[in-house]
Symmetry: D3
């Protein structure tokens, strides 16, 4: 994918810039080495193909064999892949490859935790636009590898009418009507609500999806009952692993979780020369 | 700074792309609004000027007044800045501005915690190259705003001889000699060591900085004593808030912490229309 | 908008490149001139702000006053705007500004013709992805200025399941289920059908929009009746000004017209020095 | 050619962006398919190699065999090329490849019509700078494939002194002298004339090419006779298929036709899976 | 000019990259200073506006006043311009501004020397394509500031048929015929010749310009006489300040000098804080 | 290396742009030719791999065999490499390849002269930031191929405290302290001095490197003695081939020479078809 190639080029430029002075000074050219990517903890894998592409961007002749695959649950000590390349290439690509792989696997692992927490329900975990600037396409992919789903990618592929849009348009009804009139008909219309009254208005306006923002569990249950099958329901706001199962139990269709991408930590992966 | 302008343009392109369909459909052009950036928790601020630049990139005429400044400790409820702009501009820039500001402030806040934990010692907290691909320049800045220091930026502005370089060069001595001969003389030479024997070799080779990698507290103390003022010492490997004070107590000069950048969470900041 | 700025820069680079040898040789620097954009035929205007931006990209101090506005019906002889600038700037920006303005107004004019042809019905005219590579965002805008609507912008903001997707997925039902499971829930699902049987399958699969591709008027009428309010209907395939009214009369909700963008001609506009 | 590669990357980015949600959801990875490009009408082919490059940009391993070649007259029903690739690649590249191929072949076809209309004379049909912004290099190529010739590419590779240059320089003589003095000596000097008096002045000034702009057939004949072999003559202004033969009959050397590029329609080509 | 802005941005990025560590560490923000650009030797000035743009790219509010102008003969000790700006901006822009200004003035000065050497003749000094990759547009401009003229800019704006083209085409006649048939009619056709026989062939073929490559003075005189006013003549090959006057005396119209751009040295200019 | 690929693409775009009109008109497609790069004088080679990459960027299938290698002393008449490629590729890449190779070899040759002049001493020749904008990475490489060393690459990888930094910081001591506090600890701190008093201050402040700027030989000797092994010493300012040996004899460690890059001339290399 062309966007991923751009991300990788930029990351390599950022890290190598005018040159890797240490490697150029200490490692002779032309010495082929073999290295392994090894898991240092348990996690859900995402980004292995991106890691491969980091090395092949530096040298198309690098050999890279995946032993695990994106979406796999990996255990501490597992060898994820091996790479055979000029030692200089290995050393110059290592940090960028790990930075991307560890971050993407971190997102996938967080997503998998949330998915597991609601596995006994029909609720679907979805991400948000609270992603790392410049890496959205990779993080959205990692979310899917963790078993969660994607909300809209960006401002262009979903209508999400929030409080300020409603105020500007002069009410939920006017805002939904405006969106139906001017946005592509291929997009559903989602409305953010904060009270049961808002929910009623959104329903009357014909919203396709109703976001229940920062509601109590009781409000959410009431909203879900009220809405029935007339629209999809999405719980949003301050969702965490302690609360997500209870939220799912209210019967909402979707639960959006900013923490999938804005606060997941990098998992621990090493590149070892063998 | 030109690099920051590029990061912001890319982030805006990623989030807006072919257009913000919701805002275009619901918010009339030409309606000026005022919004505030409000802290939803306590944290150390970093990135406020970047947030400003997000809005001025969309429209040079945006008014933005900072009430807090990078490096400030901010308290829950504090108003950080206010912005006056066309409502469409506010809504289109909101997510990108917050994504950057929350992430940078998260890094600064994590850095400040580590700095506080060793404040009673002379040890200096430094970052690593384990940064978010594409955002290194911003994250390194946030580290400074949190009171910590920067290690080398990238592979081009520091010689750091690691295990694999040593193996390729045929020993610490040869590697240091190679670096002294070929890297710019403006760069110090740092050698990664794992044992006291390594430390001795690095000292003999004339290393300017000696990294003590994954050593026990006892090993570190011994190394610090052995090295004296002949080189700077840097502790590295698995440093966290539970261990950092004990590490500092060994007398090392620098402690490098990957977690500053690879695993800090975004702090909570809202943009409220007033 | 950042994308439009990029399009304009590329166009100016393409036309000026290493320099306008004629103007540099014959026109002294610093001579301010006034020019008018004049309609040489009747048309619907689109792109005037883009034309302005061509000149302000060359020189931010150019004065440009619009006398007509995008979406206006313009008559032969109307002065659309005047520009006051250094004569060199006027001459260097003229061709690029006109090329964009004439093309965009051409698209708007074609769109307005189709819209007028179905004005007595409820049918909505929409565009397609058959746009000029590199100019889609401008052409989609011009379509709206002509009174028509936009279909999905690109492959990322709409699910449109065509014949080959159906074959690959193993049937309409499987394709719709796959899309519902993996595409963002913010996107409606559209299915292309060629027969009444296809329509029935798409309805059963729960398609949100059903495209009636290359059907006869009789088939379309039958499909519309069958579908009722269970899905939106979109007529597609070989629509032209001779057939569009009859198609609209079948009761379809939307009519997509590739010709809006792939075959509209440039309208005639001159820039005259006054 | 590097410029063409850039055009293709931009077009693919524009159409695919953050991803083809339909194909990803419905078409399994790794399924190789064969498709054919089929002419749906008679036309002159241009852009087949560009279409090939669209697919190989997405995947270098795509097999693409041309059965017709740029410049060929193609008949309705002809298979132009076949492509063998992963089905996902075929579906993601289809629209961009067709948009480019149909547009370029449209330009070639229009050019071929004008060339045919003057085939019994010595007049040469040439294009103008009224091309699609961003695609000039492809459209100028298509013009040649249709049997016509190229005028200057852009402002940098030809001196064309128009009315406003003449006014600014203080007369035809001064403008030509200025150009001779400052433009590279590798460029001929062309002067736009509107009257026989202008023609005389241009001749006296030593113009290499004299453009007869919006003249009547009588004026053109008189100008051609007056000029003889002292300069090339170029008819310009409102040339169409109805008038071009008569214009050629006046004996002008060149006839420039903006409509070749600003108003040609896309020809109809389909990509069919077989 | 858009190309110049790109060159400046790239140069600043190259020199500043992740940051000017010295200035950031030692110079407080917000301290306005005044600096002067001072000539340290006699030379012909070129690039002053480019130097200005270096500083205004870093900060649009920089004040820059030119005391000398491009094309001026500058004497040792002359103040060329003064700049008032934040001290950090002055220090960060200094090297890039001087690198460009010194190089461009070096080219202008070399050009002026060659022009002076043939001032008593009608010969015109022209440049070649032997320019610094990436800086051609600036160097060609500097050539003009030195009083010389430009040959074609690049491969796209001049037909220059060399030995290998002739061999490939099957002779001078065929090559000229091919060029006349396929290159834009706005370009003159130049043919490289090495012998008097070549000159005769080129004349017969109708060449507009005949390059006399590496000929003796006698050959050149003979060629000039033979050609008369039938074509322009251009001397080329190993021209230097010792030989250029004799070459001019042969009566050639143009003398192309690669050394103008491939081997001129930077002149000495300092930036002094006052 | 990614940066080199960008330089080459830009250079090819600059020289070829919209197309090589001569070659396209005269040289048939598909004719494979063999050419040799031949030295026309004695020099030190640098940039051969860059020249190869120019051709492989145009066509990955070009065969290129190096007969000499970067760093080699080449004699007049030596064949440096041969290339086998489509004749069109050879002709389109020739000028860019030679422009880069001749310039880089010029720098290497100048560097080798300076190195030879001090070969009987321990002094090391280093470059400066006075490089060609946009080509620094290539010129710094060429310097190494000539046997000299690199000073810092840019403002980001070395602390060099100059007169203006000292003035702004309030003295050498304050400036060094500021740098030690805020610059990465991986960078040595260099201070520019102009008098023996400055040298003493810099020593007291703990500078790692002391630049002796524009000092007399006597001052330099005194400074070297004073400094002993407490810091590296670097002579700077107006160094040329007449003075460099005497400067080296003062015992300085490093001698920086701007002329290596700002004023070296291109060496003479031809590409001959065989």
């Amino acid at each position: 994918m062309l966007e991923v190639a751009e991300i990788i080029k930029r990351a390599l430029h950022e890290d190598i810039g005018s040159g890797d002075v240490t490697t150029m000074a200490t490692v002779p050219a032309g010495a082929t080495r073999r290295a392994e990517l090894v898991a240092k903890e348990d996690f859900t894998l995402a980004g292995l193909d991106v890691a491969r592409q980091v090395f092949t961007t530096l040298d198309p002749d690098v050999a890279f064999e995946s032993l695990k695959f994106d979406g796999n649950k990996v255990r501490r000590g597992d060898v994820i892949a091996w790479i055979k390349a000029d030692a200089r290439i290995l050393l110059q690509g290592e940090r960028v490859a790990l930075n991307l792989l560890q971050r993407m696997s971190g997102v996938a692992t967080t997503a998998a935790c949330f998915v597991a927490a609601v596995a006994h329900t029909d609720a679907i975990i979805v991400d948000t636009r609270k992603t790392t600037p410049g890496l959205r396409v990779l993080e959205k992919y990692a979310v899917r590898m963790g078993g969660a789903h994607n909300h809209r990618t960006s401002l262009y592929d979903g209508v999400l009418i929030k409080e300020n849009h409603i105020a500007a348009a002069g009410g939920i009804n006017a805002a939904v009507a405006g969106a139906r009139c001017s946005a592509p008909h291929t997009l559903k219309i989602e409305v953010e609500t904060e009270t049961i009254d808002d929910v009623r208005e959104a329903l009357d306006a014909g919203a396709d999806i109703i976001m229940l923002d920062n509601m109590t569990l009781e409000q959410m249950s009431e909203a879900v009952e009220l809405i029935g099958s007339k629209a999809l329901t999405e719980a949003s706001g301050g969702v965490n692993l302690d609360t997500v199962a209870d939220i799912a139990a209210t019967g909402v269709d979707l639960i959006s979780v900013g923490a999938l991408t804005h606060s997941s930590r990098a998992v621990d992966i090493s590149m070892l020369f063998r």
